[in-house]
């Protein structure tokens, strides 16, 4: 028993007791206040008042360990009891539950005070006194339990329900690891994201990092909510590193990649992208494809830096190809196809060995013929370089590889239409469209009469030709073309 009194001397758990000591002082202050107020009242009130203080004392224990262990309640009790000896004595005599044995000392020292008190209030009969005792006992119990429920951890299931229902709650009292984990697991079971987040953050705050991480790793849903929280806090650096330790390497890598995109200077972005690829992507089997693509992105940026460096200098010095038209926008961070367009626009006929030639870009990035032809055609059309377009689309090149042209002429015509090419150019390429129905449709829509007439002739559609006469201006070259055809008897028209 004496051991229990000497709190500091306990060898069982130094930290435990020390902590308690600190809290004890805090409560002692409160006790003093209670004394002043409570002792001014009648005796019975005194009893209840003291009960408050002692019950609080009890709870100091409860908040550190499993609640309501009688031994510890007793442990704590004498400390407060010594200070306010009268009430604590009354308590012990009237109640067996609190652990009378431990309190035998104070009981004997103050037993006479109760007797004298009863004598003074001589008007009270014995039954009245015992009634009062009974009342005191019951009040004490009520207070004790309400005080305990205030400071003790309520049942996990109750707290979770409060959280799900959006009522006020507190998690501070859950000190034991199993309690914390039960909390988390029940929140997950209830599917309530808001509670899951709250509990995860509570665990983060109150658990050692290694335990926090290992418990979270067992619960993917909890990780999701933790990640959502970190993302919403806007700190992607933290998000990435936490995902990494939580075992979500791929997700973390993508986060890191995302961070590199925040760099606004091309050189800095190039460096950080390279570093990111090396440290978080390279070597991962799952991220193999991403690694390849990131390397491509790095090379592209590197290429853009090189071309931009040379071209902006040339542009400043008014050297070709910027002699008469200065460079407009910067090349950095533009997509590969747009970069190709740029190279086609300014460096179309440069030799393959030049870094800014379209060919070198196509080769380096292993681009398809289709990608090249369509982009180059667009550049030629927009710049009205019809001869270049001709060379580009000349069939010779293609016959080597495939029979069919890589890009259908319907696509080329689409590009030309978008570039608002003159009629003769449109005419020329429209006639190369294989699909006559589609060709007819397009030619009619854009009123390229000669193509309509030629196509109708090819389709041997006499009725169509006759009907089309209304569309053509009388006496124009198309009209003459049409008239000649209609008179031509050698054509076998479809009937």
């Amino acid at each position: 028993m004496s051991v229990r009194y000497s709190l500091k001397g306990d060898e069982e758990d130094e930290g435990y007791w020390n902590q308690k000591e600190k809290r004890q002082n805090f409560f002692d202050d409160a006790d003093d206040e209670n004394e002043i107020i409570d002792w001014t009242g009648t005796r019975i009130e005194e009893f209840t008042g003291s009960q408050v203080t002692s019950a609080r004392g009890t709870n100091k224990n409860a908040s550190f360990t499993k609640p309501s262990r009688p031994v510890e309640i007793a442990n704590n009790f004498p400390k407060t009891g010594e200070k306010i000896s009268k009430p604590s004595f009354i308590l012990t005599t009237s109640s067996e539950t609190v652990g009378t044995k431990n309190l035998s000392k104070p009981t004997s020292s103050s037993a006479s005070s109760l007797e004298s008190a009863v004598k003074r209030d001589s008007k009270l009969s014995h039954t009245e006194v015992s009634k009062l005792y009974a009342e005191v006992t019951s009040l004490k119990r009520k207070l004790q339990s309400s005080e305990r429920s205030r400071w003790d951890a309520p049942k996990v299931s109750d707290t979770i329900i409060r959280m799900v229902m959006g009522e006020p709650f507190s998690l501070e009292m859950y000190k034991s690891l199993p309690d914390k984990l039960t909390l988390l697991d029940s929140a997950i079971e209830y599917h309530d994201g808001n509670s899951i987040t709250a509990i995860v953050l509570f665990l983060k705050k109150t658990l050692k990092n290694s335990i926090f991480i290992s418990e979270l790793r067992k619960r993917p849903v909890a990780i999701n909510h933790y990640a959502v929280y970190l993302r919403s806090m806007g700190d992607e650096e933290v998000l990435a590193s936490q995902l990494q330790i939580l075992g979500r390497k791929e997700e973390a890598a993508m986060c890191r990649y995302r961070l590199t995109l925040q760099e606004s200077s091309p050189q800095a972005r190039y460096q950080s992208m390279k570093k990111c690829t090396d440290s978080y992507f390279e070597g991962s089997k799952i991220l193999h494809r991403e690694t390849v693509l990131l390397r491509e992105q790095c090379s592209l940026l590197n290429k853009q830096i090189l071309i931009e460096g040379a071209d902006s200098k040339a542009s400043r010095e008014r050297k070709p190809p910027f002699a008469d038209c200065p460079k407009e926008a910067e090349l950095y961070f533009l997509p590969l196809i747009t970069t190709l367009y740029y190279c086609c626009k300014y460096h179309f006929n440069q030799s393959q060995s030049s870094i800014s030639s379209p060919e070198s870009l196509v080769k380096e990035f292993n681009m398809s013929e289709k990608q090249y032809v369509m982009t180059a055609a667009k550049a030629c059309a927009n710049q009205r370089k019809w001869a270049d377009l001709d060379t580009l689309l000349a069939p010779k090149k293609w016959i080597m590889k495939t029979k069919k042209p890589t890009v259908g002429f319907d696509r080329i015509v689409g590009i030309l239409l978008k570039a608002k090419a003159p009629n003769d150019i449109l005419q020329k390429y429209m006639l190369m469209m294989d699909d006559t129905t589609k060709r007819l449709e397009t030619a009619k829509k854009y009123k390229i009469h000669s193509v309509v007439i030629e196509t109708l002739k090819q389709m041997r559609d006499l009725r169509g030709l006759q009907n089309y006469r209304t569309e053509v201006t009388y006496g124009s070259s198309e009209d003459i073309q049409l008239q000649t055809l209609l008179k031509n008897t050698s054509i076998k028209w479809k009937t």
Partner: protein, 609 residues
């Protein structure tokens, strides 16, 4: 609580009244005059419920948009109305801190719609302004957008749940469901399909158990509830809708029932914002029609209006004239205004399909993909579209459609489209493609080395494979892709909403469940759908056992879409209802279409992830 109107419809007006009351209660929680600072996204929602005058009647002196900078005002009281997001809280905290620095004494209330989330308090505490703020919950759940559509107006839900696994919004959904059942009484029959639906159902049961009301109610006004995950059918939102309402949404964007039409549509020098719902007679008539069947009606209607005006010209007696002006003229004016806009809008929609050189091909490709024919052509069409740097989101829709219908693309094709996409639109869209992959929208067929797997892995893989080949199997079992031509003018098949090419899967699932198709076929298909399926009927409360069960309300069906629904699906179910004698009501987290879906997935590293 009579909530059924004469036609047997549920009266959603009651919800509007409740929402208005809740808003008023929130406003009055801060007595006297105050400034309101409203999150821009919520403006339209508040418009639908209240309007500025109501806000002013309850103490709003000045109204501001929630922006980075604190509003310049001297009022001593300020109320923020916003969603419970971390972003909003940080902005508000910054406002408060800068106000304090400027020596302003203001009291702040933060009203959170629809509930206070834990992070709100955390952030205010961390920012050191917790003590300056009074939190208030403004429990606005489902907003009536129309006489048969309710929406939580949470377009972010799809991304947050399916991409990030964020379950924070489950509870607001559950609350909305519980509130609906307070007004319209407990729904006796409930079916659910999908992950989210399961969570919602379980949480609803938990709360009902706590509140002690799990039993059915004989006064129920809704006979059947369907809770369905968007994830069950991702094909539908990616397809181009062909009903008028669907196309208006895809072309102009309908936001909380409002649609803003540009000058090219209105034919004036002003943009016009129109509320599109059943109150607009012209719109009500054409909304569910196939686009090819809209113009003829509008033309006839225009003639009708014209003859109405002519009638006015021929009036000789002054009494008749007075009558005409006060009654008919007003209607005619209203009609002609609405006609002008709808004619303009349908013109614009049709123009789009003719003017854009490849839009016809695009639609043809989409149809070929759905029918599962001409894979190679579709593939090269998409590839060329990418190479031409055509509209990214439209091309992505096709890419995802191709992937979904082939249950993931073969590795080689996947890689080709992946790199062509990145080369045309920028490598940083790796993030976009990653999002699409995680949501199962654009995936690569798995080639796993079976020898290295354990038995349970093999089982899991087999299940996955089963689900993966699901699309074609389901199409076949339920004839989702009609073989015969479908009537588009007078539709009798739900697939008309996609020009007779595809029947929205969820609508078919609902039809099959309601029609009580042989449970074996239903089971066979349901097995292939993502997530769990659950169907149950509540035990009736004692007082209900005696009363007659067969009543009109059992034909009222509420469909709750979790993750969004399209106007096409709504139109298809409206048709089903008309044919089979059901009255469908819709609830959804938001109205969506292919563009909004794809846009929510796009991430090029700028802004928030």
């Amino acid at each position: 609580m009579a909530a059924i109107s004469s036609e047997g419809d549920l009266d959603f007006n009651q919800l509007k009244v409740l929402a208005r009351d809740e808003l008023i209660r929130t406003l009055e929680s801060m007595p006297d005059s105050k400034d309101l600072v409203i999150e821009p996204k919520l403006m339209k929602i508040l418009d639908r419920i209240a309007g500025a005058q109501l806000l002013r009647n309850h103490g709003a002196s000045k109204i501001f948009k929630l922006e980075l900078n604190s509003p310049k005002t001297d009022s001593g009281q300020r109320m923020y109305i916003c969603r419970p997001t971390a972003e909003n809280m940080k902005v508000i905290a910054d406002h408060i801190k800068s106000d304090k620095q400027g020596g302003k004494k203001t009291s702040y209330t933060v009203a959170l719609i629809p509930k206070k989330m834990y992070i709100c308090e955390v952030i205010m505490e961390e920012e050191g302004v917790y003590g300056d703020v009074t939190f208030e919950e403004c429990k606005l759940g489902l907003i009536p957008l129309d006489n048969d559509i309710l929406s939580l107006e949470l377009p972010e839900f799809f991304k947050s749940f399916y991409l990030h696994g964020d379950q924070s919004w489950i509870s607001p959904i559950v609350n909305s469901l519980i509130n609906l059942q307070v007004i319209f009484h407990k729904i006796p029959n409930i079916s659910s399909q999908g992950r989210c639906a399961k969570m919602v159902l379980e949480m609803t049961k938990t709360i009902e158990n706590l509140q002690g009301g799990v039993l059915g109610d004989p006064d129920h006004q809704i006979g059947h509830l369907f809770l369905i995950d968007r994830e069950v059918d991702m094909v539908t939102p990616l397809c181009t809708q062909t009903t008028y309402e669907g196309l208006v949404d895809e072309t102009f964007g309908i936001n909380c029932g409002y649609c803003e039409f540009g000058k090219d549509v209105t034919g004036t020098d002003k943009n016009i914002k129109l509320l599109l719902n059943y109150e607009d007679d012209v719109f009500e008539e054409i909304r569910n029609r196939h686009i090819t069947n809209v113009f003829s009606f509008l033309k006839a209607q225009a003639q009708h209006v014209q003859s109405g005006y002519m009638k006015g010209k021929n009036i000789t007696q002054i009494g008749q004239m007075k009558d005409f002006v006060s009654n008919e003229l007003k209607d005619l004016k209203q009609q002609s205004k609405s006609l002008t806009i709808h004619i303009g809008a349908s013109e614009k929609i049709l123009q789009q399909t003719t003017n854009e050189p490849d839009s016809k091909e695009h639609l043809q490709t989409e149809h070929a993909i759905l029918e599962g024919i001409g894979y190679k052509d579709s593939f090269s069409f998409i590839e060329e579209k990418l190479d031409r740097q055509a509209s990214a989101s439209k091309t992505l829709r096709l890419m995802c459609l191709l992937s979904l219908t082939s249950n993931g693309l073969p590795s080689k094709d996947f890689k080709t489209l992946q790199s062509h996409f990145l080369q045309s639109y920028g490598y940083e869209h790796l993030l976009t493609l990653n999002n699409l992959r995680l949501c199962g929208l654009f995936t690569e067929q798995q080639s796993t080395e079976v020898s290295k797997l354990s038995m349970s892995d093999v089982q899991k893989l087999a299940d996955k494979a089963l689900k993966r080949t699901a699309f074609r199997a389901i199409c076949k079992k339920w004839n989702l892709i009609p073989k015969d031509n479908v009537q588009l003018q007078n539709p009798s098949d739900m697939s008309y909403v996609f020009s007779g090419v595809y029947t929205p899967l969820i609508c078919k699932l609902i039809e099959q469940t309601l029609m009580k198709s042989p449970s074996s076929t239903l089971e066979e298909v349901v097995k292939l759908l993502p997530g769990d399926n659950c169907t149950f009927t509540r035990t009736m409360s004692a007082k209900g056992k005696g009363s007659g069960a067969a009543k009109s309300s059992s034909k009222v069906v509420l469909v709750y879409f979790l993750g969004g629904c399209t106007f096409a699906e709504i139109a298809a179910l409206r048709l089903l209802g008309a044919m089979k004698g059901y009255k469908f009501m819709f609830a959804t987290t938001s109205i969506m279409n292919g563009n909004t879906l794809i846009d929510s997935m796009i991430d090029n590293g700028k802004g928030k992830s």
